[in-house]
Symmetry: C3
Subunit: 214 residues, 3 copies
Amino acid sequence: MTSDDLGCGVRFNPLPKDKTFYELFGKSASHLVDGARLLTGMLDAGSDRAAAAERLKEVEHQCDEVTHEIIRRLNSTFITPFDREDIYRLTGGLDDVMDDMEAAADYITLYRIEELPPEVSDQVEVLRQAADLTAAAMPRLRDMRDLDEYWIEVNRLENHGDKIYRRCLAHLFSGAYDALTVMRLRDVVEQLEAAIDSFETVANIVEQIAVKES
Amino acid sequence: MTSDDLGCGVRFNPLPKDKTFYELFGKSASHLVDGARLLTGMLDAGSDRAAAAERLKEVEHQCDEVTHEIIRRLNSTFITPFDREDIYRLTGGLDDVMDDMEAAADYITLYRIEELPPEVSDQVEVLRQAADLTAAAMPRLRDMRDLDEYWIEVNRLENHGDKIYRRCLAHLFSGAYDALTVMRLRDVVEQLEAAIDSFETVANIVEQIAVKES
Amino acid sequence: MTSDDLGCGVRFNPLPKDKTFYELFGKSASHLVDGARLLTGMLDAGSDRAAAAERLKEVEHQCDEVTHEIIRRLNSTFITPFDREDIYRLTGGLDDVMDDMEAAADYITLYRIEELPPEVSDQVEVLRQAADLTAAAMPRLRDMRDLDEYWIEVNRLENHGDKIYRRCLAHLFSGAYDALTVMRLRDVVEQLEAAIDSFETVANIVEQIAVKES
């Protein structure tokens, strides 16, 4: 039930509750920005990849806590800023991006990968931009304004990321790498592509919320 | 809310709206028929695979547009022929089949695969039959009649497809191919198997809708 | 709609219906216990793996039938013990665990795998414990009591299983195996990890149901 449906917002004073949900979405998205920054740092020559992956794991735990707090509130709150199901999907969508980014960093350290294919830095740059766009969009859920440019831009980024991913796969299978190396590198590249797709999923959920609520 | 729940269909004249949803499901399914035909053509010796994959990409875009139109209507329509959530799932299910078929064709061209294992033609034949059955079933959603044979037959096809897929995997790992070739071919074979599974998912969604509405 | 919402439980006498759902969840979970036992048996030296995989396939079919019975009742029942959507998710979650376990056994026989990496027995032991915990928790859904320890313990098991899985991946790529063997073994190990994750998904669904209903 949305506060609008209720039609007696003053009595139940839903605004503080609403506000909390928006703040938690913003908090979750800000963790994605931190995660993308840490991934970018891991690509610098001579960076301590194990340490960066550890920090990414910590950020992922913090993001988990925000997710659980939203779910707890969702299950114990009578009034929500928009459809419960949409809040649930948006929360899960943001959490999925974090898990994908953390998994990618994890493979790099788990497989002790020294050299990554050049396309990986392009993928991580796409993630960095998508994270910034998403973090900037979350506060705008309050008045549902100026969200179009956000999801249009994220969809554009996802298309760009897809081209990078396919170019990278063709490169991996071009004969430049042995089979075991292809398997290792592919795990990293696929997780980064999954993270980009998850950003698009979040943008699509936001689009549907905006259409419904507007 | 279904028009039945409303109990004042005349006033709101829900029928045209209903009709549109059914027409859009049929349109989406007809794109799956086109996609399966294009995949079949790709297997002919001497066929221009790159061109066929390009046409498949166009069909996939057309299918996306139908999906978006359904979602738009769903989010802006008060009266739907059956549960919103079921319409959402059916639409997504049809779209998933298209994405799986397009991805399979994409791998064939991306990896410049010359020779496909013989089991692939059996998989594509299963897809062709499942697509025809699905396209024939969509108009029958109107009166929810004669749908049993559709989902029973699609489930039978999925079981058959699963046997083909497993026989193909055993063949790929039999030692007849080197590791990099196995990886390439496996991507194609898995995407085709995923497309068959997605057809079954659509059939299961239709079954649940029919049970609820009947 | 839950019987509480209805507020006239006596007239509709919802209790027998409720009871059936709980019994079916318990039945589904008991099949998971059988499945985990069969997987454990497959690891014994000199066990007839093909026969065990066959029995696992039978158990999976029985679990499917329970799933279909729950869905049928769900779609034809007016009163449910808790949210329809949660029953649907819980049922699907239990079914997913079964499918993952069956798929793992299937790969072992399909690839004619002789020797499994040592980490696999640790994964299967985690599955055995998670299955026992889940089967013990299902009857407690009736009064929603003492469920905390269940999902806390399953989450702990999933974390442990994840460490085993990552140690196993590092081992597979350590150079001890050729590429084709890594691909074969990895399919088994990933399916077992997926089964463990599916157990956690079930526990998370139960947690959300308990929070809502309490």
